[in-house]
Structure formats: structure tokens, C-alpha cells
């Protein structure tokens, strides 16, 4: 239906008019391209690590090691480029699935209250009080002998499970709170008096007006996932070598910040910050564009 398509067309028009949005979209596209075709950005393998070349300073474009080498002599640029795919895929999978779980449970809890709310709220509290690392160790021991394979998805599967398991609660809480607020508004009552089903009321009336807080949370969650993955790698359940990720790089680089090789940390950190900032800007723009009250 054309009536359904119009808000999206309007959203696109509003997006284009903002230069910061265009810049942010460019950054995100750049890293997406890097994830899809790492060979375009480096011809060095991240696995060739001659130890005598360890901790070389950045040499500039065109040299053998444009961004220098890390503590083991691996090329920083190559590691960075090959680490994009698992890092971004992990962030996308974790945030996406946690949002889906959290939003669904929060919406059901806030809408139906009663025993549904009781179960969801207690579950949220239980998962919030279990320390992430303790739970991670538990999952680690459960999956210790399991060989999942070496594909990108298999590499991130374990950290994704752990991070999703302990990452959905904030979304459930926020959505529950804003559902409680939205469901008593007159337009929800109006839909109910017209005979609308619960699903229709939740999807068409409550959710669009309750999702705002979650969209504001998303970009920073992406950063949180990437850095949490670094901690998990340290425990051995993150992205496992020989695969690399930004998290691992940041983790390893932080040892050498004061040891004369800050570039090992700075290179992935700059990329992470750029990605998160771009997502923040995109998230803001998307929220404004989808809100008809702010459309011009």
C-alpha cells in the first residue's frame, strides 16, 4: 500500500538533507566494505608474524607495514582489516538478537502485567545479578570440547551466546517501562474500543511509541559488545585465534601503550570510535526521520 510506503520515502528524503548523516553513512559503508572484501585493503596476511619485526612503528602508505606491527610482529593493518568481519558481525548479531528478545519480553510484560510481568521481571533481575564473567566461565566449561569449525559465524557463536544471554535485560526493562506509559494513552483505548486484537495494539500502537529509548541505546551497545568480546577472548571463549577481532587487538595493544608502541592500540581504537560515532549519528537521524512530528 502506498500509504505504508510514504513514511519510508519521507525518511529517506530527511536523511539525505543532513550532511552529518551522509558522513556517518559513508563511515559505516566503508567498514562494511572492509568486512566484505578485506583483500581490497591489504595484501598482507594477518597470520604472517615474523617475530623480528615486532613493534615496528607505522611506516605510512605504500610501505610494507603502513600501520606498523604488533607485539608478535603481525601487521597491524592486516589484523585490523581481517578483524572487521568478526567484530561487526558479532556486534550486529548480539545487539540484534538481544533487542529482539528484550523488546518482545518487555512488551509482553508491560502490556499484560500479571504473571507474565512477574516472570519477566524476576528473570531480568536474576540475569542482572549474575556476573558476566562468572557466567562466561560456566558457558566456557560447557562448550570446552566442542569444535564449532572455523567459519566467521562459528568463530563468533560462543561469545555471541554469552553476550546475548546477559545482554537482553536492559532492553526488556526500558521497553516494559515505556509500554506501561504508552498503553494507557487514549489512542490505545480507542483501538481497544474499536475491537483491535492485542497483537495489533502492541505492534501498531504501543511499540512504535515505546521503542524510542531502545534506538538511543543501540549505538553504544555496539561499542559495549566489541569491548566485552575482548574480555571474553582473554578467557578463551571469545573469538579464537587464528581469527582476529578489534577486541583482541585492543586487549593486546593496551599492554604496549606506555611501552613505546601506542599504535597497536590506537589503530583499532580509532576504528571502533569512528564506527560507534557513525552509528550514533545514524541512529539519531533514523529516529528523527521516523518520527512524523519532526519531519519537515
Amino acid at each position: 500500500m502506498s500509504e505504508e510506503a510514504r513514511p519510508l520515502a519521507g525518511a529517506w528524503r530527511a536523511l539525505r538533507r543532513r550532511p552529518d548523516t551522509v558522513a556517518a553513512a559513508t563511515v559505516v559503508l566503508f567498514f562494511a566494505l572492509m568486512a566484505a572484501f578485506p583483500a581490497l585493503f591489504t595484501s598482507t596476511s594477518p597470520r604472517s608474524c615474523p617475530i623480528r619485526d615486532a613493534r615496528l612503528d607505522p611506516q605510512g602508505w605504500g610501505a610494507a607495514h603502513p600501520l606498523g606491527t604488533d607485539a608478535l610482529g603481525c601487521d597491524v593493518l592486516a589484523t585490523l582489516v581481517h578483524g572487521v568481519r568478526p567484530s561487526l558481525l558479532l556486534a550486529a548479531v548480539v545487539v540484534g538478537v538481544s533487542v529482539m528478545i528484550g523488546v518482545t519480553l518487555g512488551l509482553l510484560a508491560g502490556y499484560y502485567l500479571g504473571w507474565v510481568d512477574y516472570l519477566v521481571s524476576r528473570a531480568v533481575e536474576v540475569f542482572l545479578v549474575v556476573p558476566l564473567l562468572l557466567a562466561a566461565l560456566l558457558v566456557l566449561s560447557l562448550f570446552q570440547g566442542v569444535d564449532l569449525g572455523a567459519g566467521t559465524f562459528q568463530v563468533i557463536l560462543l561469545p555471541a551466546v554469552v553476550l546475548i544471554l546477559f545482554g537482553w535485560m536492559p532492553y526488556a526493562r526500558y521497553v516494559r517501562a515505556s509500554t506501561l506509559e504508552a498503553k494507557n494513552l487514549d489512542y490505545v483505548t480507542a483501538a481497544r474500543s474499536l475491537g483491535a486484537s492485542d497483537v495489533r495494539i502492541m505492534v501498531r500502537h504501543v511499540l512504535p511509541n515505546a521503542i524510542g529509548t531502545v534506538t538511543a541505546l543501540l549505538p553504544t551497545s555496539v561499542a559495549g559488545v566489541i569491548s566485552a568480546e575482548a574480555v571474553l577472548s582473554f578467557l578463551g571463549i571469545g573469538v579464537r585465534p587464528p581469527a582476529t577481532s578489534w577486541g583482541i587487538q585492543i586487549e593486546q595493544g593496551s599492554e604496549w601503550v606506555t611501552g613505546g608502541a601506542p599504535h597497536i592500540l590506537l589503530a583499532p581504537l580509532v576504528c571502533l570510535v569512528a564506527t560507534v560515532l557513525a552509528l550514533v549519528v545514524l541512529g539519531d537521524a533514523l529516529r528523527d526521520a521516523l518520527d512524523p512530528r519532526l519531519a519537515r
Binding site: 500509504e3 483505548t189 474499536l194 483491535a196 501498531r204
Partner: protein, 367 residues
């Protein structure tokens, strides 16, 4: 009297107040406590009363948003509670609601076309000529343009939004419109336009209205009959003219005297000043809590008449009085609780004779 389209019999809505770990019911808020009336086709029943008197709860029960604790709602003679799910959905189409606040009653993220067309989507109806055309017709019916369908609610003024709300309520061609304070959130200049629109629609479509309001002037303008609510009960019910010009119940009189008159000279004229107004009747105290309404006549704690009767009230004679409207309205005439009707001659002079301080003076006038 024409066939009633809506009949309410002894309708009750109690809200339990739960406390403590075990969520035990410690009290009950008696929001609506035994209300009966009928509404004929093409007529308007005005429902007035102060905040907390149960007007809105009653309206929400009729629109199917709240479930009654007890009592019956009959639409075209069919008991809503006894019907199957499908039957209820069908009947629900016949009773639609117009809300008080036009700023919260329209989903800000839906276009006007989606809002007005939603009833069709919910009931999976494709109106003759398509949904888009039907939405355009509805918008024209309420005085908007069909082209407004692609706009969003925030682009409209309060009065226009209320028209959109009315268009949505009319989409399923209901016979009865429950209007819960439909103009009280609007500017006075816009109120008139919306009230006139409602009257035009009534003429054109033969609608029946239950018009809830606390603005007595608006109700007098639009309603054929008026019911006055106090603490969940209807205390006086009759044709609009009778209730306004010859109120029998002391509460109705106090309510009418509290309505602002746009002329200070009249408004603050001393009581009994002939020809200049009745003077304001000031009720003392607050309405009692609906969790623990007074026994007998719910109004006797504040009733100037009860106080004038003095010792009789102190003896508790009034407490045993069922000074509440029950059952059918005999002959469709002016109906007040029996006690008030019986005692009314004492109060007959138009001045506020039952106003505590002026009782002796009024008695003198009468003798």
C-alpha cells in the same frame, strides 16, 4: 416513547483496592454503583457530575473498555455480556467512543488516513468504493478535506483533531456515540463548532449520544435529557428543561448554582435577591470517599436539606432512606429520589431556602 437503542440496568463497577504481600482486597472503590437509564434513537442523554462521580467509568463500560462488575448493558435489546465473542465484536461496532483529549487520542505515528481507516482494518471490512474513498468521505462528513488523509495528527489544531476522532468513531456507522467530555479540552470558540458538528451529525445520521460533561451549559445546549451523577449514583434524571429550570435534588441545585455566569453582577448577587439570581449554594466539605460511601442517601453528609431537617437527620432517619434512583423511570418523566420529591415542597421557593443560613428567611417568605 421510541424504542430504546441502549438500555442500562443496575450497572455496577467496583475497583478492588489490593494491599500487602498477598494482594488481599482491603477495600472497594464503588465507582459506579447501580445506574439505570435508557437512551432512545436520535436522542442525547447528558451525564453531568463533578470529578470522581463515576461519569467516565460509566462511559467506558458502555464503550466496552471496562467490564461491569454487575448489571446489564443492552444494545438494541441484546445483553452484551451474554453474547459470544463475535457477537460482542458486532455490537461493539454499534457503540463507539469520542475521547476527551484530542492530543492523546490519536496515535502520533499514524497518518490521519490510517487512523480513520483503522476501524476497517480491524474489522476486515472493505467499504464500497475502497477504503481510501471511505476515509475521504468520513473526513468530509466531519468538515475536513479528503486530502488531509496523508497528514499526521500534529499538523492539526485541537478542534480538527477532535473532528478526526469523531470521523474514526463514525467509520463503522455506529448508532450510538459515547462522548466522554468531547469538548472540555478545547478552546471555547472551538467547543461551539464541535458541538454543532455533533448536532448536525445526529440529524443527518440519526445518532444517539451519551454526552458526558462537567460543563452544564454545553449539556443544556445539546442534551434532550440530563442525568446528574454523585458518587456513582444517578441522583436526578429528567428532560433537560425540567432539570435545569426546576431542579429538585439539592445536589443538582448546588451544581447548577456553581456554574459560572458570565456576569459578575448576577454571579455574586446576594442570596434571595429577587430577579437577580439564586446566589451560590456552597456545599460544605469534600465528596465522601467512594471506597466507603455514606449509608443510605449518599449525599446526606453534605445535603443542606438533611441539615435543615436537623434532628431527623441526627436520628439517622435519613441514613435509612434509599435516596438513590433505582429501577425504571416511571412514565419517562422527571425523576428524583423519593425523599427529595417528598421534601421538595419545603424547598420550593426558587431562592436557596435550603441553604443553611437562609433557611429561616425562606421559611418566613413562605409563611
Amino acid at each position: 416513547m421510541p424504542e430504546p437503542v441502549l438500555e442500562v440496568r443496575q450497572l455496577v463497577r467496583h475497583f478492588p483496592v489490593r494491599r500487602g504481600l498477598l494482594r488481599r482486597t482491603v477495600a472497594t472503590v464503588k465507582a459506579v454503583d447501580g445506574v439505570s437509564f435508557t437512551l432512545a434513537a436520535g436522542r442525547t442523554l447528558g451525564l453531568v457530575g463533578e470529578s470522581g462521580s463515576g461519569k467516565s467509568t460509566l462511559a467506558r463500560m458502555l464503550a466496552g473498555i471496562e467490564r461491569p462488575t454487575a448489571g446489564q448493558v443492552l444494545v438494541h435489546g441484546e445483553d452484551v455480556a451474554r453474547l459470544s465473542r463475535a457477537g460482542r465484536k458486532r455490537l461493539r461496532r454499534d457503540v463507539q467512543m469520542v475521547f476527551q483529549d484530542p492530543y492523546t487520542s490519536l496515535n502520533p505515528r499514524m497518518s490521519v488516513g490510517e487512523i480513520v481507516g483503522e476501524p476497517f482494518a480491524i474489522h476486515r471490512i472493505t467499504p464500497a468504493g475502497g477504503r481510501r474513498a471511505a476515509v475521504g468521505e468520513l473526513l468530509e462528513l466531519v468538515g475536513l478535506e479528503p486530502g488531509h488523509a496523508s497528514r499526521y495528527p500534529h499538523q492539526f489544531s485541537g478542534g480538527q483533531r477532535q473532528r478526526i476522532g469523531i470521523a474514526r468513531a463514525l467509520a463503522l456507522r455506529p448508532g450510538i456515540l459515547v462522548c466522554d467530555e468531547p469538548v472540555s479540552a478545547l478552546d471555547v470558540s472551538v467547543q461551539g463548532q464541535v458541538v454543532n458538528l455533533l448536532q448536525d451529525l445526529q440529524e443527518e445520521l440519526g445518532l444517539s449520544y451519551l454526552f458526558v460533561a462537567h460543563d452544564l451549559g454545553v449539556v443544556r445546549h445539546i442534551a434532550h435529557e440530563v442525568a446528574v451523577m454523585y458518587l456513582g449514583h444517578v441522583v436526578e434524571h429528567g428532560p433537560s428543561g425540567d432539570v435545569y429550570d426546576d431542579a429538585r435534588h439539592p445536589y443538582t441545585r448546588a451544581l447548577l448554582s456553581a456554574a459560572p455566569v458570565p456576569d459578575p453582577a448576577v454571579r455574586f448577587a446576594p442570596a434571595g435577591d429577587a430577579g437577580r439570581g439564586d446566589g451560590a449554594i456552597t456545599l460544605e466539605g469534600e465528596p465522601p470517599s467512594p471506597t466507603n460511601p455514606p449509608a443510605g442517601c449518599v449525599f446526606h453528609t453534605r445535603c443542606p436539606l438533611a441539615r435543615a431537617l436537623g434532628s431527623e437527620a441526627a436520628d439517622g432517619a435519613l441514613a435509612g432512606e434509599t435516596a438513590v434512583l433505582t429501577g425504571e423511570r416511571p412514565g419517562g418523566g422527571h425523576h428524583v429520589p423519593e425523599r427529595c420529591a417528598r421534601t421538595a415542597p419545603v424547598l420550593e421557593p426558587r431562592a436557596a431556602c435550603h441553604f443553611a443560613r437562609s433557611v429561616p428567611a425562606a421559611v418566613k417568605v413562605e409563611s
